[in-house]
Symmetry: none
């Protein structure tokens, strides 16, 4: 698998064409060789790198964290403590999120059930999410991953 067009690399990696160009522009992906007519050509290694980036983004890694991981990959003699730390941070956050979402889920189920009995009544969505002032997750400060959902 070599000399892929940007479109083929996009298909193979799952990263959109403009996003590949964007990654090149921020130097997350090296500038590939060009054809005589100035078109980018990618190989299997590029596709792998793109797939890696895509997956890492989906896991909520920031671009800077991904940059660090790629650097670690390029210099495999170094211990992977940094990569491990990044993964651990993500894991802690993901676990907290799951817990919060499960609480919200329970409340939404309660609402849907209340609805099926003819009244919305005292909706406690706000309480369920507002009342957790002391939860450890928030001591650390800023949220690491906020939504940019596919639509947004």
């Amino acid at each position: 698998m070599a000399n892929l067009s940007i479109g083929a690399a996009a298909k193979a990696s799952g990263v959109k064409v403009p996003t590949i160009r964007y990654y090149e522009s921020i130097e997350l992906l090296p500038s590939p060789p060009r054809t005589g007519s100035n078109r980018r050509t990618y190989d299997a290694g590029d596709v792998r790198r793109l797939a890696f980036i895509r997956h890492a983004r989906e896991l909520g890694f920031e671009v800077e964290a991904i940059r660090t991981l790629l650097k670690l990959q390029d210099e495999p003699e170094q211990p992977c403590a940094a990569a491990d730390a990044i993964a651990r941070d993500r894991l802690a956050e993901v676990e907290h999120r799951i817990a919060s979402l499960q609480a919200l889920r329970a409340e939404l189920i309660r609402m849907v059930e209340g609805c099926s009995h003819g009244h919305v009544g005292a909706c406690r969505v706000i309480e369920i999410l507002a009342d957790h002032g002391e939860c450890a997750y928030h001591q650390g400060g800023e949220p690491a991953v906020l939504a940019g959902r596919p639509g947004g």
Copy 2:
């Protein structure tokens, strides 16, 4: 707890001062009464609402989704069918998110376990993220969590 300054409301809710003003500007938070010298004054209800918004954002809900949740809370008398639909939509979203995050969590655990005490050469972080082809997390189509960091 009443007549809080914007700074006090920020401290109490965990939402930053400029962000509170931003939420007002996009009408996620109602414009509060002002003092004679034009300063915003908040009460306990505003703080709860802000804390709710913050939690929901941290859970990855878009502002528009939060708006519908708040509307459901604000107007408990609205026709049951409408409330039910909103709650059901959010519930579906929450459940999808939980599922995605659980798959993600499993991967992160594998990553951390594979990584511990190793070197990057043997570190599975990169392998796992690059060889993502059969990862269940991706079957669902769209990524549930993408980064839009607090600066993003």
